[in-house]
Symmetry: D2
Subunit: 464 residues, 4 copies
């Protein structure tokens, strides 16, 4: 059954034109001005997008859904997370597979895949974390990248003793990645410094969430980026710094790029609109704003926006990591180190960036699309199936009303988490209709589609 979207302003990373879009089956099959609906098969649904934008479905390159972490499990499952994503205009999620340090990669891949496969209402793929690198792991990681179509690894320089990969293995992983054409995404914070700073702060009685940032200041993140970039320089591997939060870290990445390192930079929505003062709120309210890297001083925001505008920063994700406040964040009442990390934003990302980025003039609409969809598709091998609007591409579309105004609230959220970090914020702009491969999955913030529509997107390695 076909779908015709008429009269919208089609906005891609590069173009802005008024035309109608006709989707047949799962793909876009025609883009033309004035498609005569009477010539279309009977039953074609027609949506009037006049005065609306039509965006390619947004891609979140960095989310956690299934997440055993710090002794608990993230609250969302793929049902709630994918619904929340769709409500916010995001049609593809790239989830981090985060095995424990002794888990076999293959088993982890299967565990994560199993969580998603029947519940995902949107399409998905993964970044495969390499937390061990013995021979077995090497072999399985290779298989996952090539045979399973997941050619992007994740490494942690943070989380000492849990996820951090020793330098010897980091070099080996990057060498292998280069050979396979696999990009290595990385959480760049020096694990040892954080561990030592946490111990010092706790020993001084500094236990509240306001001490989370001082336990991992910008210097710790810059060290991580500098370290990784040097390893990339010598191995030739392509790298991608996730949730880059501050000037210091961005500068380290850009300096590496100037030396010829192939490095891409990801920002995440929370760092662009929230700052350190949120985590300093009294009565443990700050715990809602604990993520890693932490929220920074406010002036870093402007620096990140400048580099998004210039496209030196390629992507904007969320690092959605959904832990409840009541029963989970509160595990850290006595010690900020035990607060599960995360500021759930998968549903709010686009509207926040539209409101505080586009409408304030920091970026234009093309940059919004580029950062939130196209670049993720290009970097992670989904393009041109995803990430743009063109004939032949998947019919993942967002009809967006740029004038709709509402207040964000946990009560309207489809995520399972019991709080909304942006509670009461007024945003302008809303995804009115959201399709996944031609099927309408969300309307006006509500999920209206097929729960198991999502597919694993098999990808090819491109980072040789």
């Amino acid at each position: 059954m076909g779908l015709l979207i008429t009269g919208g302003r089609i906005i891609t990373a590069t173009d802005d034109e008024r035309a109608d879009i006709y989707c047949q089956g799962e793909a876009i099959t025609r883009i033309e001005a004035g498609i005569d609906s009477s010539t279309l098969p009977p039953g074609t649904e027609v949506i009037d997008a006049t005065d609306k934008y039509v965006f390619p479905g947004f891609i979140d390159p960095h989310v956690h859904v299934h997440l055993p972490f710090m002794g608990t499990n993230a609250k969302d499952d793929w049902t709630t997370a994918s619904q929340a994503a769709l409500a916010g205009g995001t049609t593809t999620l790239i989830e981090m597979i985060c095995p424990g340090p002794t888990d076999e990669p293959r088993a982890a891949f299967e565990e994560w895949y199993a969580q998603a496969q029947d519940k995902a209402a949107c399409d998905f793929t993964f970044h495969m974390s390499a937390v061990r690198f013995d021979e077995l792991a090497q072999s399985q990681l290779r298989d996952i990248a090539i045979d399973c179509g997941v050619p992007s690894f994740k490494v942690f320089l943070a989380y000492k003793g849990a996820l951090d990969l020793p330098d010897e293995h980091l070099f080996g992983l990057l060498t292998m990645a280069k050979k396979l054409g696999v990009i290595v995404t990385a959480h760049c914070e020096n694990a040892e410094l954080i561990d030592a700073m946490q111990k010092r702060l706790l020993s001084e009685g500094k236990t509240g969430p306001e001490w989370h940032e001082p336990s991992r200041p910008p210097a710790v993140e810059a060290e991580g980026v500098h370290h990784l970039a040097t390893f990339a320089e010598l191995t030739g591997a392509h790298i991608y710094t996730v949730h880059t939060s501050c000037m210091d870290a961005v500068d380290a990445a850009l300096a590496a790029r100037a030396r010829g390192v192939n490095v891409w930079i990801e920002a995440v929505a929370p760092h662009l609109v929230l700052d350190k003062s949120y985590a300093e709120q009294p009565d443990f309210e700050g715990a809602k704003y604990v993520m890693s890297p932490p929220l920074r001083k406010k002036w870093h925001q402007r620096y990140l926006w400048n580099h998004i505008r210039s496209r030196a920063i390629s992507t904007i994700g969320t690092d959605h990591a959904p832990f409840d406040f009541a029963a989970q964040k509160t595990m850290g009442r006595d010690a900020f180190t035990k607060i599960p990390n995360g500021i759930p934003s998968v549903s709010e990302r686009i509207d926040l960036l539209h409101t505080f980025g586009v409408l304030t003039g920091k970026i234009d609409l093309h940059t919004l699309v580029d950062a939130c969809s196209t670049q993720a598709a290009r970097i992670f091998g989904l393009y041109p199936r995803k990430g743009t609007i063109r004939v032949g591409a998947d019919a993942d579309l967002v009809i967006y009303d740029p004038n709709h105004t509402r207040k964000l609230s946990v009560k309207d959220s489809l995520s399972a988490v019991d709080y909304n970090a942006y509670e009461g914020w007024e945003v302008t702009g809303r995804s009115e209709v959201v399709t996944v491969r031609g099927v309408i999955q969300a309307r006006e913030g509500a999920f209206v589609g097929e729960q198991s529509r999502g597919q694993l997107l098999k990808r090819e390695p491109t980072h040789f």
Copy 2:
């Protein structure tokens, strides 16, 4: 009469796909796999592009054709220059209008336009140099930008007493440009330092072309960029540094960008493949390699390529400035300061960059298209009419054979200049067929089209 291009690999800044292209009238009207030529109007010309690339027509954002300079006139006219451009795959030229210090802008615009309008075999537009900024000039510059559709200015920080604009006027021009949405392109070398260094070197008997670079070292260019960028920072104007030649200057621009300045960076082909040692050749041979900014030490090339790959540098032009060796360059036999500046490259640009950029792995094909076509179109308001391949765009197309090998030589050149700076260089890749708005203008390096096909491309201001 239509034109059908079949079987080619269509390469744009973002995409790579096999499809047929049908052009009717001046525009691209269909892009589809397997267009059945029997369904097309009779007389449609069919070109088989199997095993070829199809690129959007290249744009050279920085050329000189009509150029009274240093007491002589550049050798090319629009007949020869546009033929040379087309032979090399370039279908749009942006020429610098360079009036003398007392000329009225309006008269200059008309003079330059008159030169092009009946002779240009390719499309064209201008950057309007602001060398005076009194009230009359302000008014005429505004008219040229808005009414004549030339919303890009050029300023010179170099050429003391001839072209350089005093700081007070620079501020005024940038302020006006910001208000009008006009981008300001700039030659960033400090005029005073060059003048003083030239005098010093000549007084020391250092008169040969090898002293040209020492008279304007990287520090002089970096000063220019830093200066301009500071003015842009305070006025909000959008700027574009032309022919940026060295690490020092690029760094100054990137530092400004990090502070939020809207600055675009242009490299030119000669700086990417030639170095300072060429200008140091004996017997005045070096004079062929005198341009400004000068050729630099070889290591700067790698730095420029790194930033082209990362797209921090947006465009690659030529600064084509065609002076004969025999009768013009030799005007500077006694003093390098009298050597007319320029290394003609309008015809060679694409093949040089394909050979030494793409085939060596420094950049990919998309970056070639982006830097040599798409970005120029976007930055200067020609997009999407120019700069990409899509339905509705002008049918400016280049069918490119990536495997053709030949030696460059003055004897094969369509430019009027009596030497070729790349004489004897072997290049791989050639523009086999080149169209301008649907008409084949060049084939296999020869001009085969209509001499006066070229049009002035009226543009709208976009840099608010």
Copy 3:
């Protein structure tokens, strides 16, 4: 008549030792532990410095006393200014000679010298401003530097149309300075940008003192430093950036130094302890805090202190420029551009730096002495006569009580100005006894000496 100082802790830029100091005539003649006063000539005055520091007399490398500026005259004369300096431990002042744009240098030198010669209670020398550079001026500047013993020039990149030197002359001046071995001190703010920003702000009705800083933000100063440093790079001249106020400007100087430019950096006391918010006080109170470069955001202070500690910044002066609040600062009630610039600090410098630098651990005592005395002496050719404590040096000594606490107030000030920018601030540390060439000129903040004791210090050029 001799002077014996016993039991003090002698602190120089490099050393810290307990010894007695005996001064005979104008010089220090003995430094030994346990000088037996009974062996000294009768009439020797003995001062017990137990529990006190003995510092070399401090040098302020940047003051204005005689200052026709913005249509008025600074309030101090040499009587009051030198008394105020001495009360605060400063025994040598280097004053800026600031002629008008058409004045002859020689006449200006004589005018300034005449003001000082009978009234200066402390020693003095000058920096000779070059505000014109025609042949006559060149010849006179050379004479002043060499014959009159004033081998340090001052240039202004700021103050458009009044003091700023055009680039051509800047190059000439630096070339001449290099040849003569003369250092060029410079006020580095781009005159044109300031002029344009002032006009813009005033035209928008932004007339209060809080708009002074926005009219000359850090970018304007960084531009000045970058500009000057580039000129120094090509001429080889030695330069000295006065009152460097912000990270951006310091960074520009340090980058030049890394390239091999011989550049010294001066900070001034107000920028180290005051910030922009002072100039934003209501009821025109902010006018007391208007100087150029302006007070900056507070975080710049830490950056300056870091570089003072590392000695990347060589000197700390004051830029003492004494204008009354009541009748002079108020000239700018309708326009901040008419507020005479200056934050008088010549008397307060050492106690402020001791309190907020040494006692807070930002710098040590040696760095205090180095920055406030020794480096000025070394850079400006006064060493070893001034700037340290050693046999043979001038007996300019400060016996300093590090524990004395008081509140600063205009009512205790010996300067003629009608306000104190630090009114009510509590400081720790006071110059108890201050000598100039063996004569006690100040005690406990009071002037007790010979009014005309001061001499012009003839210097030799050293910056070849």
Copy 4:
């Protein structure tokens, strides 16, 4: 028995004066113009230093004498090394104590001390390497620093599995150092990268000494400095980067300093006068020039000199590590990784720096003294006993003939090593007379003194 040095030009880090020096016992007791030798005790030796410089005895802050390394022992012992040092004007050596990874610190200290105590002809102290940091080691390191008077540690980020300290221990060591006031000197090259690069190069058959540098390029050293500096930033410890060899590493240190890190930078003589091409000489000759960090591209030299002139680099040592060519360097014939590292320079340092630094105008004499004597004394707690010429200081003096010219040769060397890296180089300047605490130990390049005159210099911690 006294010693009188007459008529010399006394050059310290800050001063330059003609005076006589009288030494009685071990110390300097008088510095005056025209000391009447007839008033001195009989037997006073008088040395005429007319037309000579008198320098404070030079200090080499970084040598190896006793050095079990890579399966062999360095060739010098304290007899030869101290004689060689003295012949070259160096009167104090600071040796690295380099225990194996499981050795107890205390035992190592005693082993090293035993080697020196009866054989050292010059004074000495140590940097105590921390290669383990368990509780026992912590306690012993504390004792060595405080009780034994060796308050400077050394850490290796290089030499994987042998000397490198894991990050957790690095943080602990720096924390302890900060508390104790101990400075931490560090070899900053990332051990893991070197190990991986070595394996890769060897596996590619790249076994010659010319591959030593590519196995540890500037990026590897910059990574080390950045890493250490970040740890210092968070612990507050004072650090000192030894043998900093390249722009990248210096820049990392200076960037840290700008952020407030207390970091000192050491260069060593070989990096200032030799470059990478020496290690690329055929027939294994390059092995003589293998040290770590390796010799770099020549342009780095100028960068290091610029920063020595500006005193951003504090000290110049040698990293003297004396291995024979014949039987030791040749251990690495099959693999550059087995070439014992070191370019013996303890005897040549001063004359090389005088010839290629002072006489070429890169630095002045004061900077030579500062970098080669005074700063080492200040940073490592030897000042003012060592490092300057003043009454009360140890009578460690060098009478230096700035005009003496000779060729360096292994045959004239007092070091036990069988080659001289500077064989045949012509140098200007020689230490004519060298004293240690008043006793003449060397004359005109020959050792003429008491073999066991040297003492361990007990030091106090100063880096709080």
